[in-house]
């Protein structure tokens, strides 16, 4: 499967203008960089024929901060809070990716307690992220009530994070050698209460929005992404799984305590906006199952195996580790020279970057209004793309 992506300059060449004097004039519309659907600063250039989208060219980079370059002058512990600011709705999981690569490189041991806490926090955040996405999708498609409901559930889980971590968004929690703080004494009880609260809430989400005829009309059979194209574009996470590819690192990579819990990898059948919607709905239920299996059996033990004032020595070599975030595979590729604690260089593989480019394959042939549903179904976080 070959996917051709043209640059903006190529798109604007005269050969794409109509030759016949009576031909319909195509025109270009900028969607973004300030547009409600972009959920951040993202510019999409649409080539249109009337209301029909002929081509979409994403133009990212408006929130590029040079994070990877900055990391070259930071120690591993200093890098962790930078990963919070990439996909800020998967902050724990981003922390975990850089932590895993550093632990692999430096041969740092973890323990069952640390891995269980990391897994629990990640799954709580996956539920929180998907709940927020659900609310935002509702708003994108005209249902404002869903937006308020999504934020309501996000708040409940944020309070659990705040109690243990002291932060609600940028966590800086999972560190090489362990986690920054032990869980709060109320953690287990609060998590159980929230899980008991969340299970009927997801059913309520289905009652409120999933069966809504407008949502169904705007999502079903719209923006179909074939498995071949999804793989060729490097899509991961719910976007890839909705196309029927059962690719989930929680099952395929040996990390955390995922091998000790029973959960299903949710896949779609068609690869349309609806499948991307419903895969996330089911993933919330699966994450609740994971949390419920772990919450009563958090082992005892230290939550940090390293002394904070000791440097982390990484032998010369290349290292790559990845985790499954709420949006797909987030990886960290690190080159160590063996002379310094600092990486040379560090590259992040972000799920949103690859998922963004699927819009080039999804959008042609659909109407402008369908772009809203398509983009919403991709659940993009722009700072993770631009880095």
């Amino acid at each position: 499967m070959t996917v051709t992506i043209r640059t903006l300059n190529e798109l604007l060449q005269p050969s794409h203008l109509p030759a016949h004097p009576l031909a319909t004039q195509e025109y270009f519309v900028n969607m973004g960089p300030q547009h409600p659907i972009s959920h951040g600063s993202l510019r999409l250039v649409l080539r249109l024929d009337g209301e029909t989208v002929k081509e979409v060219i994403p133009v990212p980079g408006f929130v590029h901060r040079g994070v990877e370059k900055m990391c070259e002058s930071l120690t591993p512990r200093q890098i962790v809070p930078y990963t919070d600011r990439l996909d800020y709705l998967s902050a724990f999981m981003n922390n975990w990716a850089i932590t895993r690569v550093v632990e692999t490189a430096a041969g740092i041991e973890s323990n069952e307690r640390i891995e269980t806490i990391r897994t629990l926090m990640s799954e709580l955040q996956r539920i929180q992220s998907h709940a927020l996405w659900w609310g935002v999708t509702g708003m994108d498609l005209g249902a404002f009530t869903a937006f308020l409901y999504g934020f309501r559930e996000r708040e409940v889980i944020s309070e659990i994070f705040e109690e243990t971590v002291g932060a609600r968004l940028t966590m800086n929690y999972i560190q090489p050698g362990g986690v920054m703080y032990d869980i709060h004494p109320n953690f287990v009880k609060r998590v159980k209460d929230v899980m008991a609260y969340m299970k009927p809430i997801i059913d309520e989400y289905d009652t409120l929005l999933s069966g809504n005829v407008i949502l169904q009309e705007r999502c079903r059979n719209i923006g179909i992404l074939s498995p071949e194209k999804a793989i060729a574009l490097g899509c991961t996470g719910p976007v890839l799984r909705a196309s029927g590819v059962p690719y989930d690192l929680r099952k395929m990579e040996n990390y955390g305590v995922y091998n000790k819990v029973d959960f299903n990898v949710v896949v779609g059948a068609v690869g349309d906006c609806w499948d991307r919607y419903y895969v996330r709905m089911q993933e919330m239920r699966e994450s609740i199952r994971i949390v419920e299996q772990l919450i009563d059996s958090i082992p005892e033990g230290p939550t940090m195996t390293l002394r904070y004032n000791l440097p982390i020595e990484m032998p010369e070599g290349t290292y790559y580790s990845q985790v499954e975030t709420a949006r797909g595979v987030f990886g960290a590729f690190l080159v160590a020279e063996g002379k310094s604690e600092k990486p040379y260089p560090l590259h992040f593989r972000s799920p949103n970057y690859n998922n963004l480019w699927s819009v080039t394959a999804l959008a042609p042939g659909w109407r402008v209004a369908d772009i809203i549903a398509i983009l919403s179904s991709l659940d993009l976080v722009i700072p993770d793309i631009d880095r």
């Binding site: 490097g234 395929m252 290349t318 790559y320 595979v329 990886g331």
Partner: protein, 86 residues
């Protein structure tokens, strides 16, 4: 298939490929002039089927006056990962 078997197959089908030491994942070096042919073989050979480009990046080696391009490939068919700097 373990890492050694994987690397043996890659070396067998791509004559310019050599195993890369000091990597935590199976990794091979390929000369830049063999890039396209190597990529095609890695994708098309049925025991490899590297159909997904997970990510690619570059390492700047100013002392050697060169860039090293790094491709991370994954096979959704077999479930193996290959780091292929060249």
């Amino acid at each position: 298939m373990d890492s050694e078997e994987l690397l043996d197959i890659v070396e067998r089908i791509e004559s310019g490929a050599t195993k890369r030491e000091k990597s935590d994942r199976p990794a091979v070096h390929v000369p830049v002039d063999r890039l396209l042919s190597a990529m095609r073989r890695l994708r098309n050979y049925q025991w490899l089927s590297f159909d997904m480009l997970v990510t690619h990046t570059a390492i700047d080696w100013p002392d050697d006056n060169r860039f090293e391009l790094v491709y991370l490939l994954y096979s959704t068919v077999h479930g193996h990962l290959l780091e292929r700097p060249q």
